[in-house]
Amino acid sequence: MQTYIIKRLLLFIPTLIMITVLVFLILRFIPGDPAYLVLVGAEEGEVNVSEKVLAEMRAKLGTDRPIYVQYADWIWNMLQLDFGNSYHYDTPISKDLKTKFAVTLELTILSVLIASVAAVPLGVISAIKQDTPLDYASRIITFSGIALPTFWVGLLIIYFLVLIFEWLPPLKYATLWDDPWTNLQQLMLPAIALGYFNMAFIARVTRSAMLEVLREDFIRTARSKGLTERLVIARHALKNALLPVITVSGYEFGRLISGTVVIETIFVVPGMGRLLLDAVYHRDYAVIQAIIVVITTVVLVVNLILDMLYGWLNPRIRYT
């Protein structure tokens, strides 16, 4: 196992290098001059900026240097855990990332938690009560979750809260440490909006896996031994059906950490998604690059943890 982990960790290096090269090059090839946008803003700028001022700003940002020098400089600084300063706001990226990443991480964890907690029982009930009204109801819920866009679910939540309660969570963000109650109110709703899709997806996977497992010989054996149906389901069927569920949950975790942009905007959550959106809008290369590196690293680590979890859950899986 240790060898396997070391091998996987070593594989992180080429993966990260490839990602950094890709993101670095792609950003340089899309149109947009960060220096210009720093000077005039991205919304409705004017064009009358002299070449002298532009050149000074490019020199300040370092975008006037050859691409390979910029890349090498960036990588070197990153190795020292220095993401540099935001082009646009001229503030340290690591400071922003630290606070915003924590928000998105909390949102993601809440969302996956909500999704998993609801999805597994829903999938199990749907499987063991196949083709009954309960199954149909479960299928309606899950298909809706998959079909409805997340942003739409978010808007519906807001709409109904306003319509029924004339209430919305406070707009000004409170951190978990400063004000846990407000923080929970602010993050629970976007987490539900995000979690609904995941819940539906995981429930579908759980149902399929359960249906498959319930037809296996060892389930028949368990029943013939005289075990109660509850034990058969909980101890034998579900455990075996959980592997694909974990795979999906892990995948969803990675997807969420990088995919909260719209929900963060709708619910005014100051997370990494909003930071990324703003950075793209302003061509803030330094921030975009840093966020992508962070997301990539998180996804790689989550995948590694998942793989290790497989081995722990299923002794038949052995890594060498």
Binding site: D90, P121, V124, K172, Y173, A234
Partner: protein, 599 residues
């Protein structure tokens, strides 16, 4: 190994119940009681009525040689006995500031954040319906001398910067020069370059400065009353400190930025040493940045916003009207004159648009009413060059009779289409042509482009392929002149002729992207800007407008519609707020107060 460790909780199937509990937590018990106010008639824009042809008071007061200085008035205000002090209302901010550099400000997102921190020399009176009334801000008095060629400003005594340093004429002179600093981006304050030569300001004494003008310009005074023309401290901005960062801002204004959370919120606190006694009335303000339209509406409905910090809200006309109606008198929309427009601009350097006849043919062929109906629910007005309702423009009724604007039985006038076809044929395109049209994915530029594309295809067989750019890329394309045609909007720094002409039709204009220039326009611009008699000036402006609409010139900017920008939204508990003279004014908020008993 751990195959048996996975113990499933007995409560597995109770989890949906847990979820319900979680929802209850999320919805919280602190929900405010439902508003129980009796629904009143929706209060929409008390002023001005958004009908066509409203005539606003002529502006500005014409300068006459040696004219005595207007007597400055310190905001007369509503009776101060009504004033309720205190409170920190939450205000909607439609966007985060790109930066905090007030003189670099080109859009509302910058100036609406920095305006409360600084003072102007003079400003539009925020406590009156008279939108053209200009009062002193830092200036205690002023005098027009040298036959209208100089302004002498005397500033208030004892004014302090937020760091305790005194505000002096040195700061004012520094700022006046900074408005027009060469080579620096000055998208709004740069308009003053037409009147003032950098480096010519004179310091008379520690409280007096003399600003010489290039000519006796009627619009100078109105221009510098706009919020962007702030006075900044020389001992900070002049010492290389970057005042485009909020942490570095030192103002003299009614509020101090206590904290700015990037892209989240700005907390302002009252300046305890403000030189205007008793002001500001609020203890502070909280600007909350929300971009999503649905969330903005929801926030107004649930009283998470007491007002909007500027006229920009992301809401369409229909959204805004619906919101005001839904809130049954709780929310008020404060209007303003038509200060914004939308226009089709040509790259006058590129074929076929380098031919004035082609440009004029398109001007004639566009049917404006369907555009206004689709984009602003008809709440706009026709215009050719100047905004209807202003003292210097044609009235709507007059504009509606003009070729290119006129209709016949609600349809595009056939004579205009015939003339447009003739011009196009004369220019060598009898069967139309194909071209790429660009738009930025911002506001309603895409929708407007689609409507114009259909109209040009129908009327002139011009076939456009639409090419969209996200906003930042679009700006780069404009800068590099890498477009043929594009649709863009603009709100003017001050609703005065000089701004409008300079921004579109003169070299260096903020919306003149392809270097259009014409000697006759320059000549007429100079004439009208120097003209002290308003009737005579109006006649010159009419001549200029007519000239711009000739096929010989071919306008580089086809005005599609004039609109308000949008009215300022405020809860009824916000008092002493009036509509502003332009979208670029009245963002200091020193004279409003908050009656929380009505909140």
């Amino acid at each position: 190994m751990a195959y048996h460790r996975l113990q499933l909780p007995k409560s597995l199937f109770l989890t949906p119940l847990i979820l319900v509990l979680v929802l209850v937590v999320a919805c919280g018990g602190s929900a405010e009681p439902a508003a129980t106010t009796a629904p009143a008639a929706a209060t929409e824009a008390p002023t001005p009525t958004p009908t066509r042809g409203v005539i606003f008071k002529p502006t500005p007061t014409p300068i006459t040689s040696g004219q005595a200085a207007p007597v400055p008035t310190e905001a007369p205000a509503a009776s101060t006995s009504d004033v309720i002090m205190g409170g920190t209302p939450p205000l909607h901010a439609y966007s985060a500031p790109d930066h905090w550099g007030t003189h670099r400000s080109g859009t509302l997102n910058q100036i609406m954040h920095s305006s409360p921190v600084y003072n102007n020399l003079v400003r539009f009176d925020p406590e009156t319906e008279d939108r053209d009334d200009i009062i002193g801000d830092l200036a205690a008095s002023w005098e027009i001398t040298d036959g209208g060629l100089s302004y002498v400003f005397k500033i208030h005594e004892g004014v302090q910067w937020h760091d305790g340093m005194p505000v002096t004429s040195d700061d004012v002179a520094f700022s006046v020069d900074r408005w027009v600093e060469p080579d620096q981006p000055r998208p709004r304050t740069g308009n003053a370059k037409a009147y003032y030569e950098h480096g010519t300001v004179e310091i008379i004494d520690p409280l007096t400065v003399k600003v010489p003008l290039k000519f006796a310009a009627a619009d100078f005074f109105s221009l510098i009353a706009a919020d962007v023309f702030k006075v900044v401290p020389k001992h900070v901005a002049g010492e290389g400190i970057d005042v485009s960062k909020w942490e570095n801002i030192v103002g003299s204004g009614p509020y101090i930025v206590e904290k700015y959370d990037t892209d989240i919120s700005t907390d302002y606190i009252k300046n305890p040493n403000y030189f205007k006694e008793g002001k500001p009335y609020l203890d502070g303000m909280e600007y909350l940045i929300v971009r999503d339209k649905g969330r903005i509406i929801a926030a107004f409905k649930t009283k998470q916003f007491a007002m909007a910090s500027s006229t920009a809200t992301h809401l369409s006309v229909d959204d805004r009207k619906q919101l005001v109606e839904d809130m049954g008198g709780e929310l008020i929309a404060y209007g303003q004159p038509y200060g914004c427009n939308s226009f089709l601009m040509f790259n006058v350097e590129k074929e076929p648009y380098n031919d004035p006849r082609v440009r004029h043919a398109i001007f004639l062929a566009i049917h404006r009413q369907p555009i206004m109906d689709a984009i602003i629910s008809g709440e706009g007005d026709y215009g050719t060059v100047f905004q209807p309702g202003s003292w210097f423009a044609r009235t709507s009724e007059e504009a509606e009779q003009l070729p290119g604007i006129r209709e016949l039985n609600g349809e595009k006038h056939p004579d205009d289409i015939a003339e447009a076809k003739r011009l196009l044929a004369e220019a060598g395109h009898p069967d139309g042509f194909q071209a790429v049209h660009s738009y930025r994915t911002f506001g309603s530029y895409g929708e407007q482009s689609a409507i114009v594309k259909d109209q040009l295809k129908e009327h002139l067989n011009i076939e456009w392929t639409l090419e969209s750019f996200e906003p930042a890329t679009g700006l780069i394309k404009y800068r590099d002149e890498a477009f043929n045609t594009a649709i863009q909007g603009h709100c003017y720094t001050a609703n005065v002729p000089d701004s409008i002409i300079s921004d579109h039709y003169r070299l260096g204009g903020t919306r003149n992207y392809t270097g259009f220039t014409d000697p006759r326009i320059e000549e007429l611009f100079e004439q009208q800007a120097r003209e002290s008699n308003s009737d005579a000036r109006k006649a010159i402006l009419r001549e200029l407008e007519d000239y711009i609409l000739t096929p010989e010139l071919g306008t580089p900017s086809v005005l599609l519609m004039w609109s308000w920008g949008s009215p300022r939204l405020a809860h009824k508990s916000i008092k002493n707020l009036y509509g502003s003279p332009s979208v670029q004014a009245q963002m200091m908020h020193e004279t409003i107060w908050w009656d929380q008993s009505e909140w």
